[in-house]
């Protein structure tokens, strides 16, 4: 697994998370979301990013650690993964930092309520811990569709 060296730091609840900067296209303010009926709960709908229809995911909902309340600080991280452009709702996006590869530990079982399957590792910074998310897994289409088919059947 590629350990990121430059990461974008964002906040979910009280925890700080990081995502590899090369996977992020841009950070946007939240605009009005158009709902798409009959899709998974964590897919909030679609927004228009410069003419591109972009699906929006509530990252907290996806990681099963609650739901986002939209505030002025709420941001949308536009990430690109395997030709799919997706927006992730986060509480705030604060920083870009460099991470030394040596400071990254393998993921513990559960951290901050997020299960290990979504985590690449945990970076130890001076005074805090940074959870590095595995975007490929967060956006995994098969898993998403699995969840979707379950919700469709019910």
């Amino acid at each position: 697994m590629n350990k990121p060296s430059k990461v974008i730091v964002f906040q979910l609840n009280e925890e700080q998370y990081g995502v590899d900067i090369t996977q992020v296209i841009s950070i946007e303010k939240l605009t009005e979301i158009t709902k798409v009926p009959k899709t998974s709960d964590f897919i909030k709908g679609i927004i228009n990013i410069r003419g591109e229809i972009t699906p929006i995911i509530d990252l907290k909902d996806r990681l099963q650690i609650g739901r986002s309340e939209y505030t002025d600080d709420t941001r949308v991280l536009i990430v690109q993964m395997n030709d799919v452009q997706v927006g992730l709702i986060v509480d705030s996006a604060s920083d870009v930092i460099d991470i030394d590869e040596g400071s990254i530990d393998p993921p513990p079982k559960v951290i901050g309520g997020v299960s290990e399957t979504f985590i690449i590792g945990v970076a130890k910074l001076k005074e805090r811990l940074l959870i590095l998310l595995d975007m490929e897994h967060v956006l995994d289409l098969d898993e998403v569709n699995e969840i979707k088919s379950v919700t469709n059947e019910s």
């Binding site: 158009t34 798409v36 228009n48 229809i53 699906p55 956006l139 289409l141």
Partner: protein, 671 residues
């Protein structure tokens, strides 16, 4: 040798030439005496040979070479056109097509052609001495090709002579296996122009550039260099086999004229040759008015233009809000211009359906032969234009339907005469525009669809129960043949009848946003009508409000909009229905279907806004809150992330930058 960059051109042109051969062969079969048709075929085969050899596809070139030999015999009246001969040529053509397609798919285009080559050789040998003679004669013509100079060139030469220049006729012969003749020619010219001045070439420069020569060409060169010097310099270029130099003088012209008078054969062949050239150059002129553009580029242009359409909508909104007169005028003008542009852009993507129809005459011919049936195919409206994407997709469904008609529809000649119909079956293929749609009809005068067979099969497959079957009308029974696993043919033939075809046909057509209808009368024939949208990406839609959300419904589905009074709404078995011009139409509430949250308080509303949508003969009323008006919208896919969202065909960006979903009424139809 790097030839990849030419592959696409090669493929395109090969297909064109194969199509031309195909068309002319069919013509030839009807009028075997017409040798001018043979000439056309010969030319196409010849070009094909040349191109294939250049690209290094030897099997194609060797096969076309043999075809050429045979065709040449026919052209020179040494061979009579027979059905067998045409059959073999068709076989060759098929093989060639397979090879070209294999190259298109990244293969090497290799195929065992020895069988066909042998067959062709056998035909050729039937007239062996004659063929040799003709080959000989053509050889003599080629070697004697001398340069003729016109008055102007003569003066130039005379002047040059005074200044100490010598004139040479340089004949360069390239290696037989030379791949990029054009490149070699270019190199030769570069060397020659270094040494002196080229004042004439045979064949012409244009022809040389297009590689329309065998392996040698001649140049009239004015130079101060010695003959040996020139020869050695040209020979340094690789893939040059031979360079002949001879001093050029007026005497030679005279001699050549004498030559021509002496050799009757030459006289005979040469005019023909020049005639060929003339025709070719005429053809060239006609072609030069169009250019090949990669479809990807047009798609990209289209994408960019979609952005403009979105911004146009936005500007219209803004200017209306601001209410500044000059701004409104300017925006309106821009709207008009961009609408014209939009139309132009759409027509750029349009291709005549001829491309698809073209392959059918031969297919029908083959099928009829295999099945021992007599079939006449009539095509009309081949010039009807359709979006390129649709053209690419519609071929296979049509093939299926036509095979179906030929196999199951049209009866054998015996059956037909027993029924009192003419022995020859009639298949009509029609395409035409109507409103925002293109229609393609396939009509046969065969046995029609056997209702009982369809019913019993449907019951067997568990699609219908017997009680249901009795209630259905013919129009409701026929579409059952499009369900999967359905084949009513008693015998499975290799042409059709495996029951995999028709459901695929229906799916493909629906995925293109089209629909298919059947009408059929027993013993009189059946008609399949395919309705296709003109364009796929920009569509007219009706915008409607559901609570706070905006949805778009494609206009092509909309029959009418109605304001429904509350007391006009009725219930049948718990299903809300309305009376629409004497028809009972089921009502579907968008709000319920899409689970739109209730945001706006409903104050005992009097009327309900209903959009009546239509699919085939079925009508359904979609209940919405408000009509917002009609708009051109750009269909955008929801992307891969959403797969198969129920009843949503895509999204579009509105004037204010917000997104609205486009409803796919097909999925909301209630039976």
């Amino acid at each position: 040798m790097e030839t990849n960059q030419y592959i696409e051109v090669f493929l395109d042109e090969s297909r064109e030439h194969l199509q031309a051969v195909n068309d002319h062969l069919l013509e030839l079969e009807k009028q075997p005496e017409d040798t001018s048709i043979v000439g056309e075929i010969f030319r196409s085969a010849h070009t094909l040979k040349g191109m294939a050899a250049t690209m290094g596809f030897e099997d194609i070139s060797s096969l076309t070479h043999k075809m050429e030999n045979v065709l040449d015999l026919i052209r020179n009246d040494q061979l009579v056109v027979t059905t067998e001969l045409i059959d073999i040529t068709f076989n060759c053509l098929e093989t060639l097509e397979e090879m070209v397609e294999s190259i298109a798919e990244g293969g090497d285009g290799k195929k065992d052609v020895s069988d066909l080559v042998n067959q062709l050789e056998a035909i050729e040998k039937g007239e062996q001495p004659a063929s040799k003679e003709s080959e000989n004669s053509s050889n003599t013509v080629e070697t004697v090709t001398a340069l003729e100079v016109d008055e102007y060139q003569k003066t130039v030469m005379d002047q040059a002579k005074e200044q100490g220049f010598q004139s040479f006729q340089v004949t360069v012969t390239l290696n037989e296996d030379c791949m990029l003749k054009q490149a070699r020619v270019f190199m030769v010219f570069e060397v020659l122009e270094d040494l002196g001045e080229v004042i004439k070439t045979v064949p012409s420069v244009e022809e040389l550039e297009e590689e329309q020569f065998d392996h040698h060409f001649s140049v009239l060169l004015l130079t101060k260099e010695e003959a040996e010097e020139i020869r050695s310099k040209v020979m340094k270029i690789s893939e040059i086999k031979q360079v002949d130099l001879s001093p050029f003088s007026d005497r030679k012209i005279e001699k050549q004229e004498n030559n021509q008078k002496e050799g009757t054969q030459k006289e005979k062949t040469q005019p023909e040759k020049s005639e060929n050239n003339k025709q070719q150059s005429q053809k060239k002129q006609a072609q030069s008015k169009s250019i090949r553009v990669n479809i990807e580029r047009i798609d990209r242009l289209m994408n960019l233009f979609e952005e403009v359409v979105i911004d146009r909508g936005r500007l219209e909104d803004i200017s209306r809000k601001i209410g500044h007169n000059e701004l409104i005028e300017t925006v309106e003008h821009m709207s008009r211009v961009s609408k014209d542009m939009q139309n132009m852009m759409l027509t750029m993507r349009m291709v005549p359906i001829e491309q698809v129809f073209n392959r059918f005459p031969r297919m029908i011919r083959g099928l009829a032969k295999d099945l021992d049936k007599k079939i006449e195919l009539e095509i009309s409206g081949a010039e009807t234009e359709l979006d390129r994407t649709v053209i690419d997709e519609i071929g296979d469904p049509l093939v299926h339907l036509i095979r179906n008609s030929v196999d199951h529809g049209i009866e054998s000649p015996q059956e037909r005469s027993a029924k009192g119909k003419p022995e020859e079956g009639h298949l009509q293929l029609t395409a035409y525009h109507n409103g925002n749609h293109v229609y393609i009809e396939i009509e046969d005068d065969g046995a029609g669809i056997n209702r009982e067979k369809v019913e019993s099969k449907a019951i067997k497959n568990g699609i219908l129960t017997e009680e249901e079957a009795e209630k259905l009308t013919d129009e409701e029974v026929y579409p059952l043949i499009f369900s999967s696993g359905f084949s009513t043919a008693e015998q499975v033939s290799d042409i059709s009848g495996r029951g995999v075809g028709l459901d695929v046909v229906k799916n493909t057509i629906e995925s293109l946003g089209g629909q298919i209808f059947i009408t059929s009368t027993p013993d009189q024939g059946s008609k399949f009508t395919i309705q296709l949208p003109l364009t796929l990406s920009i569509l007219s839609a009706m915008l409607v409000n559901v609570q706070k959300e905006t949805y778009a419904i494609p206009l092509s589905f909309i029959e009418e909009t109605v304001m429904l009074k509350n007391d006009e709404k009725m219930f049948v078995n718990g299903q809300a229905v309305m009376d629409f011009r004497g028809k009972v139409v089921p009502l579907v509430s968008i709000q319920t279907i899409f689970e739109v949250p209730q945001n706006i308080e409903q104050n005992d509303k009097q009327d309900e806004a209903v959009v009546v949508v239509k699919k085939g003969d079925k009508l359904t009323g979609l209940v919405v809150d408000n009509f917002m008006g009609q708009k051109e919208v750009v269909l955008k896919s929801l992307g891969n992330y959403f797969k198969d969202v129920f009843a949503i065909s895509g999204a579009t960006i509105l004037g204010d930058g917000s997104i609205s979903l486009i409803i796919d009424p097909n999925a909301l139809m209630k039976g």
